[in-house]
Symmetry: C2
């Protein structure tokens, strides 16, 4: 949480940090501003002090909405710096950055750098800054374990409510999709038909899902998966647009919309079989649902996340499937890890893979996915069930959006003979 930032800075021996970039589609900046259509800005935080947002003059109002202390770039005479820098934009910007750091009392020590932004600009500015302030050490960090990612790992209640709102949007789109699919007419060869009588394709459904998410005000910045048959058995496949929608095949629908502007995500999966299911698919589904429910009963405050991944592997192995525990990089059976944290990044700490850290735990405030699955691409099927869960401060594990777990969806205008 943001409250942990100073402690995390101390643990890394960081005296300050800088975030570059826009207010949107830039998780570290968004984390502090809460969003807002702010063009290129610079946030600086000195350990022990509140963060300060430096911004263009035009964006005074948007910057103020963040509730942060704001200083317009115009406080510094960029034109004079530009002349002094021999008209070198990067040097002039570094000189302004030096003034900003000095203003906050930072002229020595270790300074972290974060953000998603133009690398040529950033590397150029930082290289000059390092020369201008030889007593600071600019520190890069791997994004998987950076200060910001560690702070983001636990969410405060404001963040959880934003994720919950995306859960509502997500399950509404899923319900809309289900309603649309089950209302379709069905041809004699079990292919679904559109209103105009032509076959319904996976691509048609993709377009509708995109539309419904946009209609409700969400974004799909990382895409989504709606895949049938063999593709449902390949967790990486988004679905082949030309595939026809048919009865009796597994459909994996994994949807992860975010707030518009690159904000908080929700992550959700259901697997369906329209009209009827094959015995083999039903058996897979029952196993996935059984371990899904067992995990829900067993999640426990402060336990390492990977323990539940291991529990899932062990359950599947008892049913005769390959898993990462008995097979290196399996391509059928259980082929991924149980889940991951969700927030301003679709995948963030804590992770659950066998090699993830002992410190990646179900700590209070963590928001994670639980998404056990089974995949048999050669048999043309795959199953996954996923909800997004909040580890509440009181230790309860709360599902952030409810949605039914039916596998076979009855078709409104078709009956099995």
């Amino acid at each position: 949480m943001k409250l942990d930032i100073d402690t995390l800075m101390q643990a890394r021996n960081l005296d300050a940090f800088i975030i570059f970039g826009h207010g949107e589609h830039n998780p570290p900046m968004y984390y502090f501003t809460g969003g807002g259509h702010i063009m290129h800005a610079t946030l600086i935080k000195r350990r022990g002090d509140a963060p300060v947002l430096f911004h263009g003059d035009m964006e005074r109002d948007e910057a103020a909405k963040s509730g942060l202390k704001c200083i317009p770039f115009s406080k510094y005479d960029y034109d004079a710096l530009f002349e002094k820098a021999g008209k070198d934009t990067l040097l002039a910007t570094a000189m302004r950055c030096e003034l900003m750091l000095r203003e906050l009392g930072v002229s020595a020590g270790r300074v972290g750098v974060y953000g998603t932004y133009d690398l040529g600009w950033s590397f150029g500015v930082l290289a000059y800054l390092q020369k201008l302030l030889p007593n600071i050490e600019i520190v890069g960090e791997a994004p998987g374990a950076s200060l910001i990612v560690r702070a983001m790992e636990t969410k405060d209640e404001v963040e959880v409510e934003r994720i919950r709102a995306m859960g509502k949007l997500t399950t509404e789109v899923v319900a809309q999709t289900r309603d649309y699919l089950t209302s379709c007419e069905v041809r004699a060869d079990e292919v679904l038909l559109k209103e105009d009588g032509s076959p319904l394709t996976v691509g048609d459904v993709h377009a509708k899902i995109r539309l419904w998410v946009a209609e409700k005000g969400g974004e799909l910045p990382s895409g989504f998966i709606f895949a049938i048959g063999r593709d449902a058995g390949v967790p990486h496949s988004g679905g082949t647009p030309e595939d026809l929608m048919r009865l009796g095949q597994t459909i994996v629908f994994d949807i992860y919309p975010a707030e518009r502007g690159g904000g908080y995500y929700y992550d959700f999966t259901r697997t369906w079989s329209l009209g009827y299911a094959t015995l083999e698919a039903q058996e897979l589904y029952d196993q996935v649902l059984e371990i899904f429910n067992k995990l829900m009963d067993n999640f426990d405050l402060y336990s390492p996340f990977k323990d539940y991944h291991r529990m899932t592997c062990e359950y599947y192995q008892s049913k005769g499937h390959k898993t990462p525990l008995n097979t290196k990089s399996p391509i059928e059976g259980y082929v991924h890890s149980l889940g991951h944290g969700v927030g301003l990044n679709i995948h963030e700490r804590p992770f659950s893979g066998l090699t993830s850290g002992d410190d990646e735990r179900l700590a209070p405030g963590v928001v994670i996915t639980s998404e056990p699955g089974l995949y048999y691409p050669e048999k043309g099927m795959g199953v996954r069930i996923e909800d997004t869960l909040w580890v509440r401060p009181d230790g309860q594990i709360e599902k952030l959006a409810e949605y039914p777990y039916d596998f076979v969806l009855p078709m409104k205008m078709w009956r099995q003979r």
Copy 2:
């Protein structure tokens, strides 16, 4: 154009460059791959040689679609590097980067770095790489004038066709918006009504525009402007969602969608007044259209873009308006510059401001906007007209999408008394 890259590298004395980041929402990478859902990859180009795309094994198919020479990261034993690096991810990645550079024969000289990506990771990796290869000099560049931006300044025909396709999408959405607005019922106080009889707000129209763009398969990564009255007079305002839609007020509709995944943009503006226009607004409109048409008649191959901005200032001054030529940062009259290049960035070279370079010219292959406007926020009005234009290799200036220039839009169910 991509064909100019080696010449541009020579002019900058660059021996090689590296692009980090994803295949989407990352203009430098997109420029070479042409798009594609490629997660973190690294592109390296040595001067005189074709670029090489290094990618994760899972993304073999998407990488291959780029038509580039592809090498999977798995060619290098990352696990061994990770151990050798004392489990330091950034150092191990830098070591792999060193192997990749050496593989392409780069072990000395000036190496540029481009892309939009995580700064902590990039700075950390590049700082190590600089130590591993002391004979290279890593070079940052200001994005406004970087090698890639300079190459992007002129478009090849494949790029122009992609921009043209976005122009088609854009004008279709504009036509849909016009059709919707002019079909609304109108209350006695000249407020437009929705189907349910409640007042139509700017926010309602925003939602419809977003929906229609999504429906046609486009994205609005940089937002858009649909603003009425006073907001139409503030070029920076996107429109206030709570504002009611009314007759007889200027509406500025500036829409700049891109291909999904952060691809090529189109940029377009029309100004409308529903039902009727005030005399004052009509006069502004006539002046904007007159200079717009005059510019279209005068655009000439190889002329500096800023000459046309100056021509626009001079025309407006003759009509008694403030402009950047006679006023520092005017807030009414003509308050911005004439236009900018459009491509994988919504704003890119060439620029047209008074201080832009003599080398920012209407060279063959350049795609620019022409968008003269007049703004009087205190009078509650603003006007802008904008099309996206291609300077063809034969020297003709071609509008990339046709759309009428009517100002007053007759309402289908309302007549002026």
